[in-house]
């Protein structure tokens, strides 16, 4: 019992190391208690209803247990978990669409003048409910990167790390997603 109590105060990163060492299910329970609310709510953002969100959450935690060893500690655990959860949800939502194979490369002409993605002014006057509807109208990939940046406040570097792409690619994707969102919002709600 004493060891479990100690584990309760451990940092996420130490806890993960301890879990990976012996595939410890008891310690994983602590991790579940810490993050279930967050994961469930992230999943809810991509699911149609509560049942689907429950299924997604269940899948995310199972996959998390199996793949926990691939967390290398290059970013904070919570950051990694955000991306892990979003990735699973996006894959789930796009599982039946041909869009999966859409070209995602960055046009080199764009790299010359990388946009300032820290600027939030373009959506400051958006209404929350309408913004939420507009997010449903853009692709799940775009929704993911916008949420990572503007809701979870990950830095460009962190997003690049967890999605395994370069910083300039992150900036381009954020910019494109942002432009699309503003367009969709203006077309539908203004």
């Amino acid at each position: 019992m004493k060891t479990l109590k100690n584990s309760n105060n451990q940092s996420d990163e130490d806890l993960v190391k301890a879990i990976v060492k012996n595939n410890d299910t008891l310690l994983f329970e602590i991790l579940y208690d810490r993050y279930s609310r967050l994961v469930f709510n992230k999943c809810y953002g991509f699911a149609k209803d509560e049942d689907e969100a429950k299924d997604l959450t269940q899948d995310v935690f199972l996959k998390l247990f199996v793949k926990l060893a691939s967390f290398k500690g290059t970013s904070k655990f919570s950051t990694w978990l955000y991306a892990f959860t979003y990735n699973h949800c996006v894959n789930y939502v796009t599982r039946n669409t041909a869009k999966k194979f859409e070209k995602q490369s960055v046009d080199y002409a764009d790299l010359e003048n990388l946009p300032d993605v820290e600027d939030e002014s373009s959506f400051l006057d958006m209404k929350v409910e309408k913004l939420q509807l507009a997010l449903e109208l853009i692709s799940p990939d775009e929704k993911m990167i916008l949420l990572l940046k503007y809701q979870d406040f990950l830095s460009i570097k962190d997003i690049g790390n967890v999605l395994d792409i370069g910083e300039s690619a992150v900036k381009m994707r954020v910019k494109r997603a942002k432009d699309k969102l503003v367009n969709v919002y203006n077309e539908n709600f203004n």
């Binding site: 329970e29 279930s36 609310r37 269940q58 199972l62 199996v66 939030e120 929350v128 809701q151």
Partner: protein
């Protein structure tokens, strides 16, 4: 004006309590399978390690 992204999907919903049992059951099953797989396969890293160690002696 504040960033409206902060208020998306707020307030946070509570996780259904029955979900924990389901998840822990899944995890227990996964652990069983992973342990069985480890039991019936060679851990090449360990084999090489132990061979090198015993050679040095």
């Amino acid at each position: 004006m504040e960033n409206p992204f902060k208020y998306i999907n707020q307030p946070l919903r509570e996780v259904p309590p029955e979900l924990k049992a389901k998840v822990m059951h899944d995890i227990a099953m996964a652990k069983l399978l992973m342990d069985l797989a480890a039991l019936f396969s060679y851990n090449i890293g360990n084999v090489i390690d132990s061979v090198i160690k015993s050679r040095n002696k």
